[in-house]
Symmetry: none
Subunit: 249 residues, 2 copies
């Protein structure tokens, strides 16, 4: 595990005190990289006060206007989520998820996204994630404070760093680097374009098609070579559509 | 485990906001019994504000002047502690300790003590404990916020509670059945055929292409609906190849 490759991304945080609380929770557990996507009220002295001796984490925090700018170079993106979502997605609890993140952080950039205090991450934001993370809570009151949620995830990561046993998975000795978020987005754009070209996707009635395909490919975590193969297939397919259209002229 | 037999005891808390944060952290994890030993500034609206929807926990909190009154009827007392204490004492991390507390709570009254924000529990207070609990932290900044410490212990207890359906995973509660081996083979045959049709795959020099694609799709575990989408795309693509070839005749 390499904590320097793990970033905490807070999306549209309302309360600056929570940002400070997050910074402290991170530093307590040995994490240092904080991204703030369009915070509502920041900088703010409440953040500084709650950060206590973690002001360096706040000082180094990167504020960006969009989620893409926070995670564009990441190969592994985790979104925190309530349990009941409409489209099922690979969902693990914080402990299982921390194991996956720790492992990936050895060779990849990893991001964990935390949503708004009042309504979490949007479905659009959740769809860019490879994995969803759920923190088990009581059914009677399941809404965790934002900084508390970060604390639990950071703690689970910490428990792995002091452990000697490194969790293993099939991803460990992969022969090509995994695709970055930016390249995945380019692929989805290309895919959508090609599906419109072959008239499989009707832009006027797209239904759930692209969501389903996004879910499929984010589940698999494509490596760069696979991405090149798939894009090559799309390009060849589009050439045939051109030829086919010429035949009808 | 019986959460009704577990109480959280805060000793000499300075900041009322932390008391509210503790109440919320407890309720989120299914704990309800809070004892406040000589809090410095309580009741206070900061506590109410930070408790959010856990006001019932605050309302039911028992305020006592001495530690003995908070734990007199307990059979099992755990004290949170930094790692370096002068007096050697049985010391476990939060996870191990939660397991012991959960077990004891089946038949005994269990208390977990959390000390002052600035200097924790005194040696006198630690001596009344059966066990000391330490939360692993980074050596660079080991001082956890009080409510965060309670959150982690409550979370570890939650992870042990039996009514905790662990949300898993890649397979459970998926919205479509996973594809059978036979259907996967039919898909690979169709895929290979289509790649030859669009002249992306040269049957005379196939290289590793199909192996790579097989590896990709077997990694993802396709469900039947996804398989249908992918086969639909292949069929449409093949139609365009037909049209394109006609144009060249």
């Amino acid at each position: 595990m390499n904590p320097d490759n793990i970033r905490i991304v807070l999306v549209n945080t309302s309360h600056p005190g929570n940002i400070g609380g997050v910074a402290r929770a991170m530093k307590n557990m040995g994490l240092g990289r904080l991204y703030l996507v369009a915070p509502r009220d920041y900088p703010n002295e409440q953040a500084v006060w709650r950060a206590a001796s973690a002001n360096d984490v706040l000082d180094n925090a990167i504020v960006v206007p969009t989620l893409n700018e926070a995670i564009g170079d990441c190969q592994f993106v985790v979104g925190t989520s309530a349990r009941e979502r409409r489209i099922p997605w690979p969902l693990l609890d914080a402990r299982q998820c921390a194991a996956r993140m720790a492992e990936a952080s050895g060779r990849e950039q990893v991001a964990v996204l935390f949503g708004r205090e009042d309504r979490g991450l949007t479905n659009e934001e959740l769809k860019v994630c490879n994995l969803h993370l759920n923190i088990p809570t009581s059914g009677e009151y399941s809404s965790l404070n934002l900084a508390m949620a970060v604390q639990i995830v950071a703690y689970e990561l910490r428990m792995l760093s002091s452990d000697n046993e490194t969790p293993v998975s099939d991803a460990q000795e992969w022969d090509a680097p995994f695709a970055s978020r930016d390249n995945m987005e380019r692929f989805y754009t290309h895919l959508e374009e090609a599906l419109v070209d072959i008239e499989f996707l009707d832009p006027a009635a797209p239904r759930q098609l692209m969501s389903r395909l996004r879910r499929l490919y984010s589940r698999v975590r494509l490596d760069e070579m696979e991405l090149n193969i798939l894009r090559g297939i799309l390009t060849e397919t589009q050439k045939w559509v051109e030829r086919g259209k010429n035949s009808e002229r």
